[in-house]
Symmetry: C2
Subunit: 224 residues, 2 copies
Amino acid sequence: MDKFLIAVDAVVFAYDKDYLKILLIKRGIEPFLNEWALPGGFLRKGESLEDSVKRELKEETNINDIFLKQLHTFSLINRDPRERVITTAYYALVNPENYKIKADTDALEVKWFNFNELPKLAFDHNEIIEMAINKLRKDIEFKPVGFELLPEYFTLAKLQKLYEIIFDKEIDKRNFRKKLLKTELIIETDKKDTGGVKRPARLYYFDKKRYFKFKATGFKFKII
Amino acid sequence: MDKFLIAVDAVVFAYDKDYLKILLIKRGIEPFLNEWALPGGFLRKGESLEDSVKRELKEETNINDIFLKQLHTFSLINRDPRERVITTAYYALVNPENYKIKADTDALEVKWFNFNELPKLAFDHNEIIEMAINKLRKDIEFKPVGFELLPEYFTLAKLQKLYEIIFDKEIDKRNFRKKLLKTELIIETDKKDTGGVKRPARLYYFDKKRYFKFKATGFKFKII
DNA sequence: TCAAAAGTGTTATGGTTACACCCATGA
DNA sequence: TCATGGGTGTAACCATAACACTTTTGA
């Protein structure tokens, strides 16, 4: 029976300075030497696909312990110019505390790109990113994954901005806050964000435990 | 670099006599000889995963030309007792016109099972089915995939029953019809379903073309 | 004291839910 | 003629959308 090379690739999203970003590496090996690509690599014996992405992310970009979700497996015959490779793509969300990256092993350089200013990428990686963004849009509509992109304590303005970027549309501030707070999952604190330029904004956090309790009883999370 | 065996498996759903069914085969080869399993097989050189599922379905069950969607790739080290195999699962929806099945090649027998009366299956196939049902529930909520399980012309009662089975809850007949017809995607015909026991019910069809037109302009399909 | 962003309520509209009876047909 | 499933409308309720001014702070 035929055997195949299997790769994994990761579309890593982050949210910084009001931009949605994607992590890319500059390839240090052929094919597509010196071109930008998704971080990833080959599956090894003895590891699952998920183990493999985690290892590659750690090796190539120094990113650890993040939200990871399988996206799709790409299997077109000629997606790798040299030899047939089947790749399983994951998407990942990192929060700013996990943001320190450094190039390593097969990567010459690692860099965050604004998701709407991406270069042409190696392989079918532009296509993979397209699918990842669509998936992120779908997921964020009904799951509280947006918080994975934020620090533990965040302002409602930041959260709103994140949703505005991902959905590419403006949201009414008052309605957004009302809807959010009515869920009883976004908890007010006494902390203030003094980093802003003027009046400090109140910080909130997402109550994950309560979310899972609500979810178990059939509640649906939807804030936009 | 390591190479791997890759398989494909299909969770094939059908809707018949007010039951949601799943197609299983009795395995004619080791491992799990004589046990029930999902139809599937090994990926070959020169075919994509999707080509492969289609071929396997045709070979093992004589099912052709159906709605197919990639579900997930399963890669745990010991999911196959003999040798490592990574499998990509698909889910499929067949309508009653495509319903004629027959066992072939590696399958001793092919049979439709009610989805809530499944035997213990080979490999991790029960787990795969679990994921497929969850995916089907999600998809059917916002996409008109339910019609893939129905003949071209159907009664609203059948459609309602299908949704009731998949979501496992009762739906109010009047509200269901109102909401459906308001979309202008379910088109009334002059045909009647004379197969019923009493008063014949009117037949409708789903206007796929119009759906894609609406979809392109940002409309969201949701009927429950 | 002023510029900038934070924070806050009300009303109109549209969608969802709850609910019960008559109708057409085949046996 | 009657049993069976087919077919229909209205009112109460709730969620969403639209909309503008006051407050707090740092410079």
